[in-house]
Symmetry: C2
Subunit: 324 residues, 2 copies
């Protein structure tokens, strides 16, 4: 009985967000972050209006300067008049409440700019939740009419790499210095990169890091679509060469549109999201299932040594008729 | 058709392990670690002979001295003539291939002792696998007749804490120093602790760490069974007061047997394992399910914006008849 008001509320919220109401947008994102039925109603409503934004993933090790770079990206794109939304999933990001005050202050400058919207998402404790919440949040920002959605994640775990790799264009940020490119490779970031950024390029070793990256790329098979990830050198603290990064993003976007890769990626992204939802749904079915009596008597049988747990679970699967 | 030889092989392997064949035991554990049908056959065979060991979980932050302490525990218990098996799941443990050569050498001393069996399990990349493999490995060591099975895990993630908390007696190791007890609390270790060890107790701050722990414990509700976790101070490098830790373990064991808690715990442990198996089984069913055509046309519908992903998944659940 609470479903109808939830749907009505979601419709009103997304409508208001689409009309430029920032508080409604913030509220919709909070609902999405919290998960559950209300989140699904908001996501469902957003889905009707989404599909127009280009999603740029920014990822890399903690301390690579991703947040400052993201701030500069917003700045640059705003100069061209485009609206930009940022979703920060990096727990060390100043947007999500960590790190440097200077960055935070600069980001707050954007907070008074109607064309920029910056939002952090909490990761603490529930990465599984993040896997579900991130695509919904992107969908809401997309529906709200932002043509650019920048998703910033720290590329340390599989979940974060997956989230970054689900973008239309994935930017991997490394720093000059021995082994940084190698670390990025180990973390699985090389495979998801469409563009490399060597940030803090005014430091020693920037050129050798570029060589490292290019050598590692040469050992990788060229993508089916023929795109070779360019390497861009930036100094995000001064904003140096950040416009070249946007140029690379624009080129990648044009390339993807031309080759049909964009559609493939979006389809793959949808499928990945649906798989996550499906697994979560199966866990729910499992939790509901184990409330039945048959479960407890099987547990008892295993506990007293009359049955091994695998045989017991198989009997339970049969009992529920789950084997399709 | 390969199932029958697998069962025969598993039967032979467990029989030989029960007769004291260490190579057969090592082989059985490798099979269990690798997962799959052979692992289930070995676990099933082990289940027939298991249920006699007392399982001691040792957990705590990396560097707390868990491995050295575990080595000392083995040493002490061997002096009493009891056989002891160790399963090390800490990736930084010398048993599992990290850390200090000195420890590794000391552990190898036990390797020539027929009454001690030490085994590490790989965690890299598949924690899910570990959730399934650990109880099976414990079952094999139990079946092989070790009255004491010590499971060492680094208490950093939920999976590790869950594994430690599945023991009959869980020992949480902290070090002297500001905030160490607080960190253990944050990691969820306080709730699973039956015994606290302040290891490296010869360092500054041991007494204040004891006070911290006792204050935090005072704020926690006393367990239904009335057990109040004692705090033991040890210096594992010298072996100081390690016999007091065994004494605490013996007392906890006697308490559990007296109050019936041991049976409850074992039942809960079986149920947790069965839930993991059940979820994994559902994921398999899901993976098989998504190979059907219905899945791809739902993905396409979501990709073109005709359907939202949650509604699509719900239709798929209906399609497979998975809703019990």
């Amino acid at each position: 009985l609470t479903v109808v008001p939830a749907i009505e509320a979601a419709t009103a919220l997304i409508d208001r967000a689409r009309q430029g109401d920032r508080r409604a947008l913030a509220r919709a994102l909070t609902i999405v972050e919290q998960g559950g039925e209300a989140a699904q109603a908001v996501g469902r409503q957003a889905a009707r209006h989404a599909g127009h934004a280009h999603i740029v993933g920014i990822t890399g090790a903690p301390g690579a300067g991703k947040s400052t770079l993201t701030g500069r990206l917003v700045e640059q794109r705003r100069l061209r008049g485009d609206r930009v939304a940022v979703l920060a999933i990096d727990p060390s990001s100043p947007f999500s409440g960590g790190a440097i005050l200077g960055d935070r202050v600069r980001m707050q400058a954007h907070a008074t700019d109607e064309g920029a919207f910056i939002r952090s998402m909490a990761t603490r404790g529930h990465l599984g939740g993040l896997t579900l919440a991130t695509p919904q949040a992107v969908r809401v920002l997309d529906a709200a009419g932002y043509p650019w959605v920048v998703v910033e994640t720290v590329g340390v775990g599989q979940v974060e790499v997956d989230i970054a790799g689900a973008a239309d264009t994935t930017v991997v940020v490394v720093n000059p210095g021995w082994g940084d490119a190698v670390q990025a490779n180990k973390a699985g970031l090389l495979e998801v990169a469409d563009i490399f950024v060597i940030n803090k390029a005014d430091r020693d070793g920037a050129e050798s890091t570029r060589t490292d990256l290019e050598q590692m790329l040469a050992m990788t098979a060229i993508a089916e679509d023929g795109w070779i990830p360019p390497v861009v050198m930036t100094v995000s603290t001064t904003g140096q060469d950040v416009e070249q990064l946007w140029q690379a993003v624009d080129e990648h976007r044009a390339h993807c549109a031309r080759t049909g890769v964009l559609e493939d990626r979006r389809r793959r992204r949808v499928e990945t999201e649906m798989r996550s939802i499906f697994v979560r749904r199966l866990e729910q079915i499992a939790a509901e299932g184990t409330r039945e009596n048959g479960w407890q008597s099987l547990v008892a049988a295993v506990a007293r040594g009359a049955l091994d747990p695998y045989t017991a679970v198989e009997r339970f699967v049969d009992l529920l008729g789950l084997q399709p």
